[in-house]
């Protein structure tokens, strides 16, 4: 693909000048990350695919007016967060079964990954909101401190402090559980 080595900013600029393929590359580059975050943020994890799809549709409509005040992924991340919170406010049709991720007919490898997402959600659900986001971004998504600070809209020192507190809580939690 022609845009594989392009940065996100270059992709958005190409898309703004009418290159639809650039948007395609942007979707393929970030869809996994956004999907994983949605699976942890959403109460109803089965709607993570819908949330991710909604984010990219909003991006398709909104990125032509993007002004590069932040990184494109920051825009996608915050939109995903907003979409997930909107979805969490909506009532669910029916409760999910406990093992819905493994009972949907997906293969074992995929089922194990989905199970891991559920375990991460259970692990971070005890943390306050900002500590949970720091843990997700720094530990599980492997973002740098600077990148995490930009995504969360805070200073790097705040990220470090939040992460330190969260680590202590998680360590206590893992020590208590068998």
């Amino acid at each position: 693909m022609a845009h594989e080595d392009s940065t996100d900013n270059e992709l958005v600029r190409a898309y703004q000048s009418g290159d639809a393929l650039a948007f395609d590359v942007l979707v393929l580059r970030h869809q996994d990350r956004l999907y994983r975050l949605a699976r942890v943020w959403l109460v109803d994890g089965s709607r993570a695919a819908d949330a991710t799809q909604e984010v990219f549709l909003r991006a398709f409509r909104g990125l032509p007016r993007f002004r590069f005040r932040a990184q494109p992924f920051t825009w996608l991340y915050r939109t995903q967060r907003l979409v997930c919170f909107e979805m969490n406010r909506q009532p669910r049709d029916e409760p999910l079964p406990e093992n819905w991720a493994t009972s949907t007919g997906v293969d074992d490898r995929r089922a194990d990954a989905e199970l891991a997402l559920d375990e991460v959600r259970a692990l971070v659900s005890t943390l306050p909101e900002r500590q949970r986001d720091v843990v997700l971004l720094r530990i599980f998504e492997d973002c740098s401190v600077r990148e995490t600070a930009e995504l969360m809209g805070c200073r790097e020192g705040t990220v470090k402090a939040l992460l330190s507190k969260a680590r202590h809580k998680l360590a206590d939690q893992l020590a208590v559980e068998p």
Binding site: V27, Q31, R36, A49, L115, E119
Partner: protein, 135 residues
């Protein structure tokens, strides 16, 4: 609960379902089709409007012996544009305008005239003759 490193490793293996990308492509294609289709809707709508409304209006003769707009247009083929009178005025019967108000004011001796100092625009009421009563 497994330790964080193992969990981290398994977490990163999770990927979005394949149908997300396909669904986005499908939505975008539908949107593009709709956008490509709307000018044809506009052209079709304009043509239908012309057929249903404008053509019968041009063809129908006016009821009171006034020549239709088509007849007027045919009678003025070679005249320069500036000299052609407005089509809406051609053949219209000229009727005398009805007077909207009588030319002479009605005779009303009882109406009190406006006083020069009265700026409110209302007519001044005649003052009651109190002297006669007291006398």
């Amino acid at each position: 609960m497994p330790d964080i490193d193992t969990l981290q490793h398994r977490y990163r293996k999770a990927s979005a379902p394949d149908d997300i990308h396909a669904a986005i492509q499908r939505e975008l294609a539908d949107g593009a089709t709709a956008r490509a289709r709307w000018p044809w809707f506009a052209v079709g709508f304009s043509a239908a409007l012309a057929l249903v409304v404008i053509v019968p209006l041009l063809k129908s003769p006016p009821p009171s012996g006034v020549p239709s707009m088509l007849e007027v247009a045919r009678s003025l083929p070679n005249r320069p544009i500036g000299s052609v009178p407005s089509i809406s005025r051609v053949g219209m019967p000229t009727q005398p305008r009805l007077p909207t108000r009588p030319s002479t004011p009605p005779e009303n001796d009882n109406a009190a005239p406006l006083t020069p100092a009265d700026n409110s625009g209302t007519t001044a009421l005649p003052r009651p003759n109190t002297k006669e009563k007291t006398a």
